[in-house]
Subunit: 240 residues, 2 copies
């Protein structure tokens, strides 16, 4: 299943227009993260009757964590080039075949940011892939336009071939536990100073996201960290 | 050059939203055919400041003929499957490379119909190609959404290779003179009855549009019709 996640949308009517855009291309699951205002008359008017059911069944949650907990693949979208974002960036057309494949493995989230300033870097860090929608010189896609183009590309794409059978990828909440363990560990072993910790975590996140770790692999890595902490606490193989 | 032609748009704000969609993908020429109301405050608000210049330079004309007179290639768009339209229908992705090539030869028009019922069959007959935007089950793209998706595909497409050098294709007004001659001729020679004339003309139009006739070829065909009329008037080679 593919869900559209709107992060802190300001205007209910933009949510309505996004619902209509989704429905045109067969996407029906909408999640709103901490919207500024509840859905209203204007939202339903913009959705038109055809997409009213998308709004009726939309889920509102307080945090991005809740929206992503069970997802196996997350795409962050961006209408602009992101300064300071060093990860790999794909166009929707490049990335859509993978979304189609991952949707067969578990819930996939397509993440859209706020009308005025998009997604924060921390929110982008939650994604396996970032999609930038290519535009001409004047790039000012609104929320519903971005949803429309992304939904269109996903609709037209064929699933990427699956290759050899692979286990289901870990869900976001499992991965986040690994990242929490890792961050605590990096601090404990003084891997880097406070200022560089964020950048280091980002680099590790990217590797893990690219690897599409399975639940077993996540457990293995967490076990490695746990054993390392134990070794530190017990002096490891120090001979004294 | 590629122009967007909106046929009898009802709502100025839809024209504004379409202008914004165009501008995102580098299209700047907008022509309005017999709009129901003039552009207003709402149109400029929906265009946003970035696309206000598209509205300011938009040309309003009374007839489709005026909008298409100098074009060498015309695409009619449709968000729905057209019953009763027997011509070839492409998706925007299939058709976009040809639009890119033809735009190097002369003005190209992308034609969008009314918000409520699209383009009439007679208007579709003016096009070299019909594009249908593929959608999921619930197909209810609004005008600006249709413009956005078409502009996006044209923006991303590369020009189809040109093959051997070919002369510039005839402009729409030259072609229309050929069609007018042909229709008069069909009536004169009683080629078909009144009821089937429209369908016959449509079939001839399709052939001519697919052939991308040059101005010389159009003259040659009109000459053939003229000579045929002369022969009829003078008894041809009747031996008596």
């Amino acid at each position: 299943m593919i869900r559209v996640v709107l992060v802190e949308p300001r205007e209910p009517r933009n949510v309505g227009a996004a619902a209509r855009a989704m429905k045109n291309f067969g996407l029906e699951q909408l999640v709103l993260v901490n919207p500024e205002r509840p859905l209203d008359e204007a939202a339903y008017r913009l959705a038109t009757r055809g997409a009213a059911d998308v709004l009726e069944r939309a889920r509102t949650v307080a945090t991005l964590d809740e929206a992503l907990a069970d997802t196996v693949y997350v795409v962050a979208t961006s209408a602009r080039a992101r300064e300071g974002y060093a990860g790999e960036v794909y166009t929707p057309r490049e990335g859509a075949p993978r979304v189609r494949r991952m949707a067969a493995e578990g819930p996939v989230a397509l993440l859209f940011g706020r009308e005025n300033f998009g997604l924060s870097n921390e929110e982008m860090d939650r994604a396996h892939a970032v999609w930038r929608i290519p535009t001409g010189g004047y790039a000012s896609l609104n929320l519903a336009q971005a949803v429309l183009l992304v939904a269109y590309e996903v609709f037209l794409a064929r699933a990427e071939p699956r290759g050899t059978a692979r286990p289901r990828p870990a869900a976001a909440e499992e991965l986040e536990r690994l990242f929490a363990d890792l961050e605590a560990y990096l601090i404990q072993i003084r891997y880097t100073d406070e200022h560089r910790l964020e950048g280091a975590m980002r680099a590790f996140r990217r590797m893990a996201h690219r690897a599409l770790l399975s639940p077993n692999e996540v457990q293995r890595l967490r076990g490695l960290l746990r054993q390392s902490r134990w070794a530190i606490a017990h002096g490891g193989d120090r001979v004294d």
